[in-house]
């Protein structure tokens, strides 16, 4: 039995997710919901035989009995206004905006912890890319006093949602680095780069390494995590070998003698937008994984054991 799904938001993310979801056995997508009848996403949805209404989230609420699950690819602002309405209508919401209303899920780290939640927040694209590495450093150490991520995305792959919600991006991401990554203090930074041809999504993780830590264990754990993420995001890779640099560094979590520098690159699968838009791809892949895990969990009543 497949879950009946709608995607709300016909921008870059929603359209890319639509193309991925049409290949799914467990998620039965029947509608892409937008607000602009002339948007490329809605035109494509129509040509693919989906319903493509343009009266926004209210359409879904009017047709609530037709859906088990929605994927919200609008903006944090819109999700904040509607999240309780989806819940009241008995529809599970997978939130791709940084609205942060439900428990946060990072596909590579804690996917199986919240399969029964009525609302699951997927943090941000940068959060999906970097939290696994913060988690990897943390599991090799007794304590991780401070972690930081810098995400650089091509201007052309940052839609109006990201642009108008840039504070939500950094706040939600830094929360994920703490709550899921395990850092005591954290900071997130996002930079847009307009270069043409567009750059691939780049993410850098810095992690404060306390005195007396096993540096080899940190490096090994980072390589292990790269393999784990690459297994479902093929374009995810360490752009350069992870390095441990000497400080000291006066972090908000205290002075540390060293820092780990982990330089990542994410190439997209090229489903809707080109390869450079790895930021969209890692988000839509995470949404698919989480959606399919929820579907499987509903059928079997069991979640797969976490693989960590």
């Amino acid at each position: 039995m497949a879950l009946r799904c709608a995607i709300i938001g016909s921008g870059n993310i929603g359209t890319d997710l639509m193309i991925k979801m049409l290949r799914s056995d467990t998620l039965n997508l029947t509608a892409l919901v937008g607000i602009d009848p002339d948007s490329d996403g809605l035109k494509r949805a129509k040509s693919l035989g989906l319903q493509a209404p343009y009266d926004g989230p209210d359409w879904v609420l009017k047709h609530a009995h037709e859906f088990d699950m929605i994927f919200d690819a609008t903006s944090a602002y819109v999700h904040v206004r509607y999240h309780h309405k989806y819940q009241d209508a008995g529809i599970t919401a997978i939130d791709l905006t940084p609205a942060s209303r439900g428990p946060k899920v990072i596909a590579a780290v804690n996917m199986h912890e919240h399969l029964d939640a009525p609302n699951i927040n997927l943090v941000t694209c940068g959060g999906q890319a970097t939290t696994p590495m913060v988690f990897a450093v943390r599991r090799a150490l007794n304590v991780l006093p401070y972690a930081e991520m810098v995400s650089t995305v091509a201007s052309r792959s940052a839609g109006p949602g990201t642009r108008q919600n840039i504070d939500e991006f950094t706040k939600t991401t830094s929360m994920a680095l703490r709550e899921i990554g395990g850092a005591e203090h954290a900071k997130a930074i996002i930079v847009l780069n307009p270069a043409d041809p567009p750059i691939m999504m780049r993410n850098t993780v810095f992690a404060g390494i306390p005195e007396g830590s096993d540096h080899d264990a940190v490096i090994e754990s980072v390589y292990d995590m790269e393999k784990q993420v690459t297994s479902f995001v093929p374009g995810y890779r360490l752009k350069n070998p992870p390095v441990i640099e000497e400080g000291p560094f006066h972090t908000p979590g205290g002075v540390v003698p060293h820092r780990a520098v982990i330089l990542l690159e994410v190439a997209g699968a090229g489903d809707y937008l080109p390869e450079y838009a790895g930021n969209l791809d890692i988000m839509t892949v995470a949404a698919m994984r989480v959606g399919e895990a929820v579907a499987k969990h509903r059928v079997t009543g069991l979640s797969e054991p976490a693989q960590l």
Partner: protein
């Protein structure tokens, strides 16, 4: 000093200057510099981490003293001067603006890369709603055409910005580049235009005067040129040169010279000279604050700083991408290891 001035001078010694001392300002430095600027008649004093509010980080360098402590100190000491803060959306938060407003900050400068003005909407509107004078600040302006820059400036104006700045963050512009950009903005906008110059090509003062001649109403400087890259437009030189041109500045050049010589120069770990690395920033069009970061990476990985800067220029990195310095240094080191 006279209150009439042909342009308004905004001093950024305590913000852009922070790059040159790796963000190691202490309360005593802030007190002396604010007192000196205020006494000289400077109307606006900008203070924050070099990369703006919230900039203290691995990527940009940690501040020695929490910036809000220093901002509070500046607000307390300042007599007539308005205290300003810079914020880059993506690094600092709207909440930071609310906090510094409480401390007494009267101006917010919201900075984006010269093609990304639309990420400033949230922050410009918050600053305006807090009653702060709000300036839109377009960084790396050499990377956009005069027409393109005017379009971006119009966006910031539509969000409510009280004036718009053209920032030559790489110190890469010629006088002609500045004239065309200022001219385009003055023609397109209803609000005043400002210019923030850097000295990597030794053009900072000349470019500032040219900007004034094209109609710029706000000009930036830093004491002794303290700042990212080869430094900023030196406030005391701009004041002196303006005097010679007969342009009224409303500030006392002699007092600014005293401040630069007696207070700021003794703080400087290195003089603001245009050495090879500084010149290369301007020549390759690379963000000025990469100077010290690339120097450290070059030493750490035993590669040439010049090679790092040229490669960053080729990759068209923008302000904020300091992490790419490590990326490039590692790749150069690996390439050299392979060659050997």
């Amino acid at each position: 000093m006279s209150t009439t001035a042909d342009f308004r001078l905004i001093d950024s010694t305590l913000r852009d200057g922070s790059h040159a001392i790796s963000h190691q300002y202490y309360a005593e430095d802030v007190m002396k510099i604010v007192q000196g600027l205020d006494a000289a008649g400077v109307q606006v004093i900008e203070i924050a981490h070099g990369d703006g509010l919230g900039g203290s980080s691995f990527n940009y360098g940690f501040s020695a003293v929490p910036e809000k402590d220093l901002i509070a100190q500046a607000c307390e000491v300042s007599g007539n001067a308005k205290i300003a803060c810079l914020l880059l959306p993506g690094i600092g938060l709207a909440d930071d603006l609310r906090e510094v407003k409480e401390l007494g900050v009267g101006m917010a400068r919201i900075a984006t890369h010269c093609t990304e003005a639309d990420i400033s909407e949230q922050h410009i509107k918050v600053a305006k709603s807090l009653g702060m004078e709000t300036i839109g600040f377009l960084m790396m302006s050499h990377m956009n055409s005069p027409e393109g820059l005017a379009e971006q400036a119009l966006l910031m104006q539509s969000y409510g910005a009280d004036s718009i700045y053209i920032a030559d963050s790489a110190g890469a512009m010629t006088t002609e580049d500045v004239r065309r950009r200022v001219g385009a903005l003055v023609a397109a906008l209803d609000v005043p235009v400002g210019v923030h110059a850097h000295n990597n090509l030794s053009m900072a003062v000349a470019n500032s005067i040219a900007a004034y001649e094209e109609g710029a109403a706000n000009l930036d400087g830093t004491s002794a040129g303290l700042g990212a890259g080869a430094g900023n437009c030196p406030t005391e030189i701009l004041a002196a040169v303006s005097d010679r041109y007969g342009i009224m500045t409303g500030v006392d050049p002699l007092k600014l010279m005293d401040l630069a010589e007696e207070i700021v120069r003794p703080l400087m770990p290195r003089q603001q000279v245009i050495d090879r690395a500084g010149l290369l920033l301007g020549y390759a069009g690379v963000y000025g604050s990469f100077l010290l970061h690339s120097q450290r990476a070059a030493e750490r990985y035993n590669v040439s700083q010049a090679e790092i800067l040229l490669e960053l220029g080729r990759r068209k990195v923008v302000g904020g991408q300091e992490d790419m310095i490590i990326d490039v240094a590692l790749e150069l080191a690996a390439m050299h290891a392979q060659e050997e």
